[in-house]
Amino acid sequence: MKYGYYPGCSLERNAAAYHQSAMAVAGPLGIDLVEIDDWNCCGATEYFSINLLPAYALVARNLALAQDQGISDQLVAPCSACFLNLTKTDRYMADSPQLAADVNEALAAGGLHYTPGSVRVRHLLDIIVNDVGYDVVAAHVSKPLTGLRVAAYYGCLIVRPGYGGIFDDPEHPTVMDKLLRVLGAEVVDFPLRAQCCGGHMTQISQEVAYEMIRRLLKNAADYEADVIATVCPMCQLNLDAYQANVNQFFKTDYMIPVLYFTQLMGLAFGASPLELGIGKEFVDARPALSKIGVAVPSNGTPRKAGASKEALPMPRLEEERS
Amino acid sequence: MDNSYEPVIVGFLCNWCSYRAADLAGTSRLHYAPNMRPIRVMCSARVEPQFVLKALREGADGVLIAGCHPGECHYVDGNIKALRRYELLKRMLRQLGIEEERVQLVWAAASEGNVLADAVNRMTEQLRRLGPLRWRETVLGGDGQMTEYSSEKVSKEV
């Protein structure tokens, strides 16, 4: 399967590990990621705050490039923020002919034109679980992550607001949980799975940002997660690089490594930690990873109603029903 | 486009859904373009393509056919028959040089006064942009004209 690939600024450097591991797993899974030539920044969450039309134009240039370079009608973005901006621009241009016209007038200044809908933007997680599928992934697992307690952390923009079409529940996503289970990991309940990592608040109000990060770390710790798995460079940065600051700020001592889901896939596929960029994280992942293969009995807080004799039945969830 | 031009739309409304939707739009005082002139039929399936052509020839700039949503037709599936005819008629009108916007089929349930009002507004806007049809004058008119054909005029196009 051939896809256009939009790494986004983060994956060039600060999230290079994400890029490396993505490539490392893409190969075996038959995902051919072809980077679009000369792409530019998506504007993150900043550009829309300053100036509307240029913000759309900035993103639209990438869409236009993807469209013209004709690698594939699908464009994969591993970064949730990029994913949002690309899908949002495409969607809004489609919904508002006026906006489409303006953006295209701007693009014309650079000799480009983008027809809304001509490129379908997808998140890396989406294509791995939906285009490749759990079975194929399972087939590649040579070193199951047995015993590794992982908190699947989705963050916001991959599931909300769903401009690119909803591929998982915006409030309680589960696809990464399934994926990690396929890898053999023990996926812990993680109620805050889709809560915000603080985004750019680290730059604006550290108090606010640190509190958001703390909540997530606490929740992961409560469920005794060895590792937090992420799908977004921003989430990784905030939870990982700022973990020390948070500890300092709240007098806590969290030491939870934050890895990209692709890194965990790579490990399960038997790739070497090095080629997966493991070691670039601030909170050392090695102690946690040393557990792999060693089944540690869980004593994490159970979250189901005690099945005592008097106990009242629990309402069943969709998945249990089917 | 001459702004003084106001399109005239002949609307065929089915008795059970769309006509009641129009009634509801009125009772709830939804103001919409006064350009649609309503004709009540029992079901959108009663609307003959003949009626549409007749309206267009007699000077309508557009024709709106409104019925119940598929699955909600008072006569089970009359609206599906209307839809089938509309799809074929549309293709024939294309050949006769009539823009697609001039003949439209919409679904409006009895509770959807706003849907009907919006449809009329939308269509009125589209027809404003398209300009008048005025079939007799612009298409048939000038009976027995003595036009001369200048070979230059034609050869230029050749």
Binding site: - | E48, L88, Q145, S151, V158
Partner: protein, 344 residues
């Protein structure tokens, strides 16, 4: 004692192929009876008359005038007015005169495009100077005038009042014979005013021997695409047979030989537009869209139905093969540069 004056007969040929004339001669020896019964006052195709002769006649001099051919140019129209003036009974004879027929199909394009096709674009035409017929041409001797080519083809009744219409392309010889008999033997004709003579009052299906069942059409076929079952209604097999919307009188000639009815006898009483009625009729019996509808995806349904309709190539040309000039819209509309689109 003067011999009783024979009634006067005229037959004129405007924009048409001449088939009507041949069909008239096809009535066989009855033609002699016609000769017996009438004095021919004007019949360019069989005897040498000049327009001057006709202009010389007193008004209403001609008792029966069969006018075939459509009104394509100014000459056709002038003759129509002249013959109307000079005739007691004016019959729009054949499909061209009564509804425009094949010439009428040019109403799906512009006069200009028609001329261009004939004088410029036609591969067998050698016209380096790109000369086109001009109504008025100056020559040393003065100005030469030829008929003006009209923008659209009209039926006879669109330029003069018509007493009777005799449909068909051409009218079947036996039909002509019966009408002639009637006229000669003085059987009273129906009240004049575009009344139909020499044809049936029900659709072709009445005369068609094929087995007719409840209709559920999956898709349409052009005649060359399938070999139809010779026993079963062609329409049921997806062939766009116009028989259901066409006046009988021909004896269902085409369907009898596995060919779809093309509709030359025109629409039935009470039908204003043959094509529109075909649309209504056959679109209604498409299979697509039957079945449970609750919670159906409306756009998807419309798309599926549309796909079936796409298999019906050139609806206008098919439904209006003979009736275009006499249909409700009468011709296609051109807002510029759409000639190709229009000319199906």
């Amino acid at each position: 004692m003067a011999a009783k004056e024979k009634p006067k007969f005229a037959m004129y040929w405007a924009a048409s192929c001449g088939g009507c004339e041949i069909s008239t001669l096809n009535i066989g020896d009855k033609i002699l009876a016609v000769g017996e019964a009438f004095d021919v006052a004007f019949w360019p195709c069989v005897a040498d008359f000049k327009v001057k002769d006709v202009e010389g006649y007193p008004d209403g001099y001609i008792d029966l005038c069969l006018f075939n051919g459509a009104i394509r140019n100014s000459e056709n129209e002038e003759m129509a007015h002249l013959l109307r003036k000079k005739s007691k009974i004016l019959v729009a004879f054949g499909s061209c005169a009564s509804e425009g027929c094949i010439p009428g199909l040019s109403n799906l394009t512009t006069a200009e495009a028609t001329l261009r096709a004939v004088y410029l674009d036609n591969p067998s035409t050698d016209n380096p100077k790109k000369t086109l017929p001009q109504p008025f041409t100056k020559v040393p001797e003065g100005t030469i005038q030829i008929p003006v080519f009209y923008e659209r083809v009209k039926s006879l009744d669109q330029v003069v009042a018509v007493d009777y219409v005799m449909p068909g392309c051409p009218p079947e010889a036996h039909q002509i014979a019966t009408v002639m008999d009637a006229v000669i033997t003085g059987v009273p004709l129906p009240p004049p005013g575009r009344s139909i003579i020499g044809a049936g009052s029900v659709a072709v299906c009445e005369e068609c021997p094929r087995q007719k069942n409840v209709k559920r059409i999956k898709r349409f076929y052009r005649p060359y695409e399938i070999t139809p079952d010779p026993e079963i209604c062609l329409l049921e097999q997806g062939i766009v047979c116009m028989g259901i919307a066409t006046r009988a009188g021909c004896g269902a000639l085409c369907p009898r030989v596995n060919m779809r009815c093309e509709g030359c006898y025109g629409p039935l009483d009470g039908v204003e537009d043959q094509g529109a009625n075909m649309v209504a009729a056959i679109a209604s019996v498409i299979e697509e869209g039957s079945g449970p509808l609750a919670g159906i995806d409306e756009a998807e349904l419309q798309r599926r139905i549309g796909k079936v309709m796409d298999t019906l190539v050139d609806p206008a040309g098919t439904f209006y093969r003979f009736n275009m000039a006499h249909s409700l819209l009468m011709r296609a509309r051109f807002t510029g540069g759409e000639v190709e689109k229009g000319a199906a």
